[in-house]
């Protein structure tokens, strides 16, 4: 790797240098080298090996196992074959809701394209990147439209996207709300800060089991309330959407603290003088938030949403423990899908699901980084 350092760019290598000097000159590379080596070792080999696995069939054989190369079979089976219902869901006739989703996506895309075209910074790479993002967004919106249509059902892709989008939205809204509350001149702020941070410390598996206890409609703590409300003969776990929402509640309980703590720190460091000046001018709380607080925390907010989204794509513990993916396949996420196939020794199918997840989450996260996080950071700089 070619390294040019601001401090050393002009310094020609001296005739003879001591080890110390050499070390010092190479410090930049030496600093980054361990990280690069570790990441290469732990990502390149697994990535390539998994890719190979996704294109193979695993079979036990005397003394060990065999891997047979079968091309795109595993992918075909899931995208167009017998497992299509699992990954992509069941397609139904598009209803009004579906049209709204698709139209909204198209409108968003058009708006983005127009803005990009007008920016005067159109490049080849930028255009290709945007094309990939647009194609993925459109494909997902069509998928949602047909899944939500009459007679349609969500597959693991749509369910995962629901966990990501719904989860991040709920967690961001509540996390921001709590941060704003804690930023008020209140007593015991550090007490609340530590208390609200606690759920993040509980191991996700533990949270999943705890919520399974709490959500039990027969012997859980809320069972009497549930019965009193007249729901004794129904259960959240029998309906696809309520089951998904219960998963979302557990996930939110754990992750709101993360968003809360980061946003609180950001809010606390917003320009005090500007806030005070606005208050003296009689600005309302909403105005202060809109004009001062939000612009100053937006870049952090975008970053924290991205971090959260990256983790959200990998959700597995909660659906696995709460519902095992049921009722039907309603709460099954992509990671759980891959995990179930893997457990049944369909290693090729499992790797193929995992690759589809990797593909989706990479496009989503890269797009979010480029089209939301970066502009916000630049706008501030």
């Amino acid at each position: 790797m070619a390294v040019t350092s601001a401090a050393h760019v002009t310094a020609a290598p001296p005739e003879r240098e001591s080890l110390n000097d050499w070390l010092d000159r190479q410090a930049g590379r030496l600093f980054i080298l361990p990280a690069v080596i570790l990441i290469l070792g732990f990502s390149i080999f697994p990535l390539i090996a998994s890719a190979y696995l996704a294109l193979s069939r695993f079979k036990l054989a005397p003394g060990g196992y065999t891997l047979t190369f079968i091309g795109w079979f595993n992918f075909k089976k899931m995208l167009t074959g017998s497992q299509q219902f699992h990954l992509l869901g069941t397609f139904g006739a598009i209803t009004l809701l579906g049209w709204v989703i698709m139209l909204a996506t198209v409108a968003l895309v058009v708006w983005g394209v127009v803005r990009y075209a007008r920016s005067g910074r159109v490049t080849v790479v930028g255009s290709i990147g945007r094309l990939i993002t647009i194609a993925t967004a459109l494909a997902l919106s069509v998928l949602f439209a047909v899944n939500l249509g009459e007679g349609g059902q969500l597959g693991t892709i749509a369910t995962t996207m629901f966990y990501v989008a719904g989860g991040v939205a709920v967690q961001f809204a509540l996390g921001l709300g709590l941060a704003l509350l804690c930023a008020k001149p209140i007593r015991g702020r550090s007490f609340f800060r530590v208390l609200f941070f606690v759920p993040l410390m509980v191991t996700p598996v533990g949270i999943a089991y705890t919520f399974r206890m709490l959500a039990d409609t027969a012997v859980g703590p809320f069972a009497p309330l549930w019965h009193w409300l007249g729901y004794a003969q129904t259960s959240w776990s029998a309906d696809a959407w309520t089951a998904r929402f219960v998963v979302l509640i557990g996930d939110s309980w754990q992750w709101i603290p993360f968003i809360f703590i980061v946003l609180l720190a950001a809010i606390e460091s917003q320009p005090r003088d500007e806030v005070e000046a606005a208050q003296l001018d009689g600005a309302s709380g909403w105005q202060i938030f809109r004009d001062i607080t939000w612009p100053s925390i937006a870049p952090v907010a975008a970053t924290v949403v991205l971090i959260r989204a990256i983790e959200a794509f990998k959700i597995i513990d909660l659906p696995n423990v709460l519902t095992n993916g049921g009722p039907g396949i309603a709460t099954e996420s992509l990671t759980l899908h891959a995990f179930i196939e893997w457990r049944a020794l369909n290693l090729g199918g499992s790797a193929a699901v995992a690759y589809i997840l990797l593909f989706l989450s990479t496009i989503a996260c890269v797009s979010f980084f480029n089209f939301v996080v970066k502009p916000m950071r630049e706008a501030r700089a």
């Binding site: 079979k59 017998s82 039907g328 457990r343």
Partner: protein
């Protein structure tokens, strides 16, 4: 193409046993790593018995526990990659074909033949002849007798004036009558039938138990999963369809969250007095006499899985009435097919372990299974081991002493005995990668059917398509051979 060669070339033997000279006891300095399921049910009795055994033999027994759903994969990864850090395991016999077929399991036949303390003849024939064996050789030692039965509340049936269910119509009838009654005195309405229907749990086994009586009539070797002629799935027929309908119908008399209950939840509910009927392995019997969890001590009866007066014709797929030809093993005109779901925990030994370690592992397994130990263990409520020796089935007195009541003890052991003695027992699917047939294809389809995502026809179609697909992927002919070998078909 195989990557086995380079794995094998570099595999490091993980066997930790040092070959120390035998001074005091036979296995001084030998450590045996045994993998099994976490929790007191299975690892509990092993851990409890280990110290005595260690004192006698000098071996160190190291019980490693992982969650149930990970045992299969964990063992396979460890053994197939040549890691061999696990010397022996207590696992489900259904997986034996995958391990034994690949040569990972030690053939225990010679050791067991010379082992008098084991009292092999005492072990129920179904386990001795079918469950422990693969292709004629014994690869596992059974510690636990496992098959489905129906449990019922004797007090509730008496109150309703009903007899224990003989057919699935009876079952539904009792469930309907009992549903909504308060059965444990807490003032809350309780449930007619509790069956663990959670996805990725045991739901597909219970469905097979319902379907069995309709599908298999001519003995274990007829098979209840595939046609032994050409490996056609036995799914697209009147029997399986009816089973789907009955299975769904039981939900109407079950708890509202039944789709999210696994068997562990339903058995806890049953012994808490919240269900009139349940389908389960033998565990409810021993749990019902455990005072720390049971409210129904002395009120639990058991019976063989319900039967049917008509069975399917293998060529047409339609029902025909039972007669001496169609149902040779019928009891009172009803064809029963008890289902040895899962098949009972058993111990197997890694063929690639150090010989001394293998001997020590065998000695420990034998110690566990010998009547002196196992006859105590199967009656303890906290262990998951159920009776599998004939002597255990005769021992009504012990169960009575524990509070089961003479009548109930006889009914419990009687139900086990009738099931075990039935020549029409269904052996669980044991062909290679059976998990893909059952846990992935069948289980997902059944879960979707119960959730209302699929109707009966679509469910049948999905399962048939899925099973055929796995057959094709793994080789239909090979799978057919394996299937015939496990059930002893011609």
């Amino acid at each position: 193409m195989t990557i086995r060669s380079w794995l094998a070339g570099l595999a490091m033997a993980g066997v930790a046993a040092g070959a120390m000279p035998a001074l005091a006891a036979e296995f001084d300095g030998v450590t045996v790593n045994i993998l099994t399921q976490t929790g007191p049910a299975i690892s509990g009795p092993m851990q409890a018995r280990a110290p005595e055994f260690e004192k006698q033999s000098g071996a160190k027994i190291n019980v490693i526990t992982v969650p149930f759903s990970d045992i299969y994969q964990k063992l396979l990864t460890d053994w197939s990659t040549g890691t061999n850090s696990i010397d022996a395991a207590v696992f489900a016999p259904q997986w034996m074909v995958d391990y034994a077929g690949s040569g990972f399991l030690e053939d225990l036949t010679p050791r067991m033949e010379g082992d008098e303390a084991l009292e092999q003849d005492d072990i129920a024939p179904f386990f001795r002849e079918f469950s422990q064996k693969y292709a004629g050789k014994t690869y596992m030692m059974t510690f636990d007798g496992d098959f489905h039965m129906i449990f019922y509340r004797t007090d509730i049936l008496e109150e309703l004036g009903k007899q224990p269910p003989k057919t699935w119509e009876d079952y539904l009838d009792i469930a309907a009558a009992a549903h909504g009654k308060d059965m444990n005195g807490d003032g809350q309405p309780d449930f007619g039938s509790c069956i663990g229907k959670k996805r990725n749990a045991q739901g597909y086994w219970f469905l097979t138990s319902v379907a069995g009586g309709y599908i298999q009539a001519k003995g274990t070797s007829e098979g209840a999963f595939f046609n032994t002629e050409d490996m056609t799935p036995l799914i697209d027929n009147a029997g399986f369809r009816k089973a789907l309908e009955v299975y769904k119908k039981t939900s109407e008399y079950g708890p509202p969250d039944e789709l999210n209950l696994d068997v562990a939840d339903t058995r806890v509910m049953f012994v808490a007095g919240r269900c009139a009927l349940s389908m389960d392995w033998g565990d409810i019997g021993s749990m019902s006499v455990d005072p720390s969890m049971s409210k129904v001590t002395g009120k639990v009866g058991a019976t063989i899985l319900p039967g049917s007066s008509e069975v399917i014709d293998r060529t047409t797929g339609e029902f025909v009435a039972c007669d001496a030809d169609t149902c040779p093993h019928a009891i009172n005109g009803l064809n029963h097919a008890p289902f040895a779901a899962f098949g009972g925990w058993g111990g197997g030994i890694n063929a690639n372990a150090d010989p001394k370690v293998k001997d020590a592992a065998y000695a420990f397994f034998s110690y566990l299974s010998q009547p002196a130990q196992s006859n105590q263990d199967v009656t303890k409520g906290e262990t998951g081991f159920n009776p599998y020796r004939m002597s255990q089935l005769e021992d009504v007195a012990t169960w009575e002493k524990m509070g089961m009541g003479k009548e109930n003890a006889e009914s419990y052991l009687g139900a086990i005995k009738t099931s075990l003695n039935s020549p029409n027992m269904i052996l669980d699917l044991r062909i290679p990668q059976n998990q893909r047939y059952q846990q992935v294809v069948l289980d997902t389809a059944v879960a979707r059917y119960l959730a209302g995502e699929l109707d009966v026809d679509a469910t049948v179609e999905t399962v048939v398509e899925g099973w055929n697909e796995v057959n094709e992927e793994l080789g239909t002919d090979e799978q057919l051979e394996a299937y015939k070998a496990t059930i002893g078909a011609e």
